[in-house]
């Protein structure tokens, strides 16, 4: 199985498991950076390309750290 793991890693860096929290953090950092350079909100494809990831991996990372905020907090942040 070690053999197989290595194969997966070599073959496709997208599949390497990273701590999702760190990945979600990098997604947000990249979003901010691109926002600055593009002067508009980047798309998920642009963020994915910048991080050499598949858009699906970005979805997974953001979902994994999705805080269980109530809708009230989402609607009225800071209140």
């Amino acid at each position: 199985i070690g053999e197989i793991r290595r194969f997966i890693r070599d073959d496709n860096p997208v599949k390497v498991s990273r701590p999702l929290k760190e990945l979600a953090y990098r997604v947000h950092k990249t979003q901010e950076k691109l926002q600055g350079s593009l002067g508009r909100e980047p798309t998920i494809t642009e963020i994915a390309k910048e991080l050499s990831l598949a858009p699906q991996e970005i979805v997974s990372a953001l979902e994994a750290v999705q805080p269980q905020v109530s809708l009230y907090e989402q609607a009225f942040p800071g209140s």
Binding site: Q31, V59, S60, L62, E63, L71, Q74
Partner: protein, 148 residues
């Protein structure tokens, strides 16, 4: 050409709390095939999970029969994304009233679900019949690539 389906995924899931989160991820994962911003994807996630949680909470509410199913149909057309959430639960007596901001049949709740769906999506259609169930269809229009 705008009416030709480019991709379709249909789900049927048990009406349990866990699947609200699942539907949210599924909607985001489906939307990720398009060149949307994270904000747009977030809006879709919220709208779809509000509709699914309404089916779990209000549609099947007190029936603790675990065999209640909710359907989620996701369609991609040339110019839009369409999400349809269907339950076969108790239905809505007065749809117009239900869609009012702050209206909830449950005093503990905020009554903002339909408001979110309405403001985050470009189209919202609610069809319901008492005792038969509810269908919520939501559309997000896609901006042509040239604008990016």
């Amino acid at each position: 050409m705008g009416t030709q389906i480019k991709n379709q995924i249909k789900f049927s899931m048990l009406s349990v709390d866990e699947n609200v989160g699942f539907a949210r991820t599924a909607a985001a994962a489906f939307a990720a095939q398009l060149d949307l911003t994270l904000t747009e994807i977030d809006e879709i996630k919220v709208a779809v999970s509000e509709a699914v949680s309404n089916s779990v909470i209000h549609g099947y509410g007190d029936c603790n029969d675990k065999q209640n199913y909710i359907e989620l149909i996701m369609n991609l057309f040339q110019d839009k994304l369409e999400f349809t959430v269907i339950d076969y639960g108790r239905g809505i007596a007065d749809i117009k009233e239900a869609r009012q901001p702050s209206f909830s049949s449950d005093p503990e709740r905020m009554g903002l679900g339909f408001v979110f769906m309405d403001s985050f999506m470009d189209e919202l259609e609610v069809i319901s019949e008492l005792g038969q169930g509810t269908t919520v269809r939501m559309v997000k229009m896609l901006v042509p690539c040239v604008e990016h």
